[in-house]
Amino acid sequence: MTLLTHDDSVAPAGGGDASSLLEPTSGRRGDSVFKIVALAAGLVVLGILALIAISTTREAWPAFQQEGFGFITSSTWVPADGKFGALAFIYGTILSSFIALVLAVPVSLGIALYANEAAPRRLRKPVVYVMDLLAAIPSVVYGLWGIIVLAPAIQPVYKAISGAVGDIPVLGWFFNGDSGRSYMTAGIILAIMITPIITSLSREVIATVPSAQREAAYGMGATRWEMIRAAVLPWSRGGIVGSVMLGLGRAMGETIAVALVIGSQSQITAHLFEAGDSMAAVIVNQFGEASGIHRSALIGLGVVLFGVTIIVNVSARGIVSRFDRRSQGA
């Protein structure tokens, strides 16, 4: 490394020797190493997702091969005879999730609006705390409460409703049956569980409504409800739909609470107060004693569940981002 020549007519001052800058330093490699390590950590996510898809499909393949499309179109599930048609469980998953949405969405939306629009300032934080606590309760505890407390207590209610409207057309098609452990009970427990998610996500979206919009509505003499309909809801519609779909995804994947209260009957019926089954519940209830192709079939149910919840999730996020005015810079 050559020393540089300075113009010596100028007095060399402190720091005048800058030539040491040209010496190689040891620290530069640290940055590339760190970056690679961090990147590797991020790639683990991709790796795991890919592995999930590959390994579960591989284990489930024997069942898929045997049943073909019948796996999801047939409702005959009799492991002893080697028959694995999951339709009844797909139906049960959808029905219980649907009930959960019907019950949870009005409640969640109401709470979200209350927290943002109507609550006095002092109550806003406590509302968020309550939602946090609701979300923190493990699903197995909800299931325990459901099977020991709710199911026996609600069964007479089902019986009464069923007795009252069971013979009336339309109403009687649905509100029939008298099993404490049923689609309806599962739907209720699921509704309790997904309310915090929908509420907190909706609340976030609603909070981004610009006050200019609110003030415009009030300025025209609107009541609070009219302001909400005119300014808040249109703005947050996309985000709310997205959060509802995320709640749906969560409901469909919920296993333990549903397994405890849905009744474990392999049937398809529109009677809400009768027992049924869901994909996740079947997996967890039958796995312990299953072997061979039965086990593959259960894993196959997991694959179907994986695919369905991913589709719901991705669509939900797509909707949220497409309607997210924030990111559009509106």
Binding site: G27, G30, F34, K35, A38, L39, A41, G42, V44, V45, I48, L49, I52, S55, T56, P106, V107, S108, G110, I111, Y114, E117, A118, M131, D132, L133, L134, A136, I137, P138, S139, V140, V141, G143, L144, W145, V149, I192, T195, E215, Y218, G219, G221, T223, W225, E226, L246, G253, T255, A259, L260, A280, I283, F287, L305, F306, T309, N313, V314, R317
Partner: protein
């Protein structure tokens, strides 16, 4: 607008200028909103109430120290192995998921930013938060349990997969909150990027990251489905998560809830109380930490 007029005048104006039907609709809406809150609080109160009421009688020193009874329909024994199991398995999951999650978030925010890889990882992490926990359990069953048998570590792997995307996303949010000026100040002093991250950015976001991690741990501790396939069932204390089956509080609740025996059900309530206490403690602690951090930064 509502601040500008005194409440009484406002009410007078409102009554005088708004038609009856509009007022009624507004009233109904207000009832709906407040009612929704009440409807949500009722099940919360009921569940916590029952858990407290039915579970408290179970708790004792013996409860935490004794092994599970051999005969489930009789009373006696304790949940010692289950408490230890929950703690050890969750700890194992945390040890794996926390460093990976924080490093991944560092990549996303400090290096990848808007690049294609970063966007893909971010998207996939979001997708991963929606994967049902039972699918995680099945996944770990196929890649670990089939080869290495039933043990606590399988449970840790499954719970770790559940925690990882949560930690990545919340940590990234916290890193985003660190003002860029701090990084600039660090570089201007002759600090390298990786050391800037470790000496400035991480300490500045520490509180928020801790809070997010604790929420992830609380969620994992309460999970049942992933453990059912991977840890087996043990009655006695097993401190080795790599060898032999273990049990956990969540699994115990699930098993005992399905039996018709009173003694077993009582054990389930006791276990539920223990589990809820652990989970609530972590959730509340997480909130406390994050509000402490918020207050310090405002100082």
């Amino acid at each position: 607008m509502t601040d500008l007029i005194s409440p009484d005048v406002e009410q007078l104006l409102f009554d005088a200028t708004t038609s009856r039907s509009r007022r009624i609709k507004n009233r109904l809406a207000s009832i709906w909103m407040l009612g929704a809150l009440v409807v949500a609080v009722i099940p919360l109160a009921l569940v916590i109430g029952y858990v407290l009421f039915k579970g408290i009688g179970q708790l004792s020193v013996a409860w935490f120290t004794e092994d599970l009874p051999a005969v489930t329909r009789k009373a006696g024994g304790g949940m010692g192995p289950a408490v230890v199991g929950t703690l050890l398995i969750t700890l194992g999951a945390a040890v794996m998921a926390i460093p990976l999650g924080i490093l991944g978030a560092i990549y996303l925010h400090e290096y990848g930013a808007k690049g294609r890889t970063a966007r893909l990882i971010r998207f996939m992490a979001d997708v991963m938060t929606g994967v049902p926990s039972i699918v995680m359990g099945l996944f770990v069953y196929t890649v670990w349990t089939l080869t290495f048998g039933l043990n606590g570590f399988g449970g840790s792997l499954a719970l770790g997969c559940l925690m990882l995307p949560i930690i990545i996303r919340t940590t990234e949010e916290m890193l985003r909150l660190v003002p860029d000026e701090l990084r600039q100040a660090s570089y201007a002093l002759g600090n390298r990027k990786w050391r800037t991250i470790t000496t400035v950015v991480l300490p500045a976001s520490f509180g928020g990251i801790t809070s997010g991690v604790m929420i992830a741990i609380a969620r994992a501790a309460g999970e049942t489905a992933p453990l059912v396939f991977t840890i087996g069932a043990a009655r006695n204390l097993n401190l080795n998560i790599f060898e032999g089956p273990m049990t956990a509080l969540s699994v115990q609740i699930f098993g005992n809830a399905q039996t018709p025996f009173d003694a077993a059900q009582s054990r389930a309530w006791g276990a539920a109380l223990t589990l809820v206490a652990i989970v609530f403690a972590m959730t509340i602690l997480a909130r406390v930490v994050s509000s402490m951090v918020a207050r310090r930064h405002a100082a």
